[in-house]
């Protein structure tokens, strides 16, 4: 066994087990972080996005009623802090990390998003998702594994659909990984 500096907490299992998850919608998950200006500007700075909708209150106020979130932050708002004392202990994420498949690691392959309106400061979005398909075993440059397609719907507190996402992720055993 080799010592790892970091792990990714990925649950493994069989394809048959994993496929029993297909079509089961997750419970609605409320984001732990509201849409907020400091994170918007940190993200816009990382990609050097000068769009005044993220930086200039006067412009954004006239155009949108205030600073808005870049659309690329849709998934960022649902990322959970590494530690949160208020998080219910029983909460199960039912994410693709927990999906029982042979793959010990994962990488995202493609994401298709549709946006219906901007995300506004102060909003706490919520989402649910379901696994649509899990491919048979495939071999790629990275390793051998399965492609997982997930569909998610993101809503406002009032239940209005803000965006949808269709995501394909590859769960795999990397070439050269030591099985012993």
């Amino acid at each position: 066994m080799t010592k790892e500096a970091t792990g990714a907490d990925i649950v493994t299992g069989t394809l048959e087990e994993a496929r029993t998850w297909i079509g089961k919608k997750t419970p609605v998950k409320f984001n732990e972080t509201d849409v907020n200006r400091p994170m918007i500007q940190f993200y816009a700075a990382a990609v050097e996005d000068a769009n005044p909708s993220y930086w200039d209150e006067e412009y954004a106020g006239n155009a949108h009623g205030g600073i808005i979130s870049p659309p690329g932050m849709l998934m960022a708002w649902s990322m959970t802090p590494d530690w949160n004392p208020m998080r219910p202990k029983s909460q199960k994420s039912q994410s693709t990390f927990d999906l029982p498949l042979p793959g010990t690691t994962l990488i995202n392959v493609s994401t298709e998003s549709e946006f219906f309106r901007p995300m506004r400061i102060g909003e706490i979005l919520n989402s649910d998702s379901e696994i649509v398909s899990i491919s048979d075993e495939k071999k790629t440059r990275l390793g051998i594994g399965h492609f997982i397609v997930t569909q998610a719907t993101y809503r406002s507190g009032a239940g209005e659909i803000v965006a949808t996402n269709t995501n394909t992720m590859f769960r795999y055993i990397a070439h050269g990984e030591n099985h012993s």
């Binding site: 970091t6 993200y43 005044p52 870049p70």
Partner: protein
């Protein structure tokens, strides 16, 4: 062009739908991807998956070094098209396909072209194809965006 005024009398120009044509190309953008930028990405998106901050883990995954995550590439594509359109355009749809990871030490070159201009459900739309290539000319992240533009 539409003009809007912001703080300190800054002027922001936005393209309008009628001045865009199929085949229009977007200005090329070159961005070096430093370790610092990959870590800015982790911090900005709070994505602590180890492939984005631990080089040893990335290598075990068969990627050469820590690499940009999905949310960064989405933001980069959105920034690229909105630099061109101006802030009044709204991104209705965006698809990114990460064929080859973009890692610290790479330099990306981004190009785009308007492939379609049309009206649908009372929205004035344009489709833009975006290519993100690395320094070896490999197509890392072919993407496409549907933008709603002002009249």
């Amino acid at each position: 062009m539409n003009t809007a005024i912001g703080k300190f009398n800054r002027e922001y120009l936005s393209k309008v739908w009628s001045e865009v044509a199929e085949g229009d190309t977007l200005p090329e953008l070159v961005m070096p991807i430093s370790y610092r930028r990959v870590i800015q990405d982790v911090a900005a998106t709070r994505d602590f998956f180890p492939g984005h901050h631990d080089p040893a883990y990335a290598k075990k995954q068969q990627v050469k070094d820590i690499y940009l995550n999905t949310m960064f590439l989405q933001g980069l594509v959105d920034r690229y098209v909105s630099d061109w359109s101006g802030p009044e355009a709204f991104i209705r749809k965006r698809r990114i396909h990460m064929q080859i990871s973009i890692a610290a030490g790479d330099t990306v070159t981004i190009n785009g072209v308007v492939t379609r201009k049309y009206e649908e459900n009372n929205e004035r739309l344009v489709d833009v194809d975006v290519q993100i290539n690395n320094q070896d000319g490999e197509r890392c992240c072919p993407s496409s965006v549907v933008m709603r533009m002002p009249a």
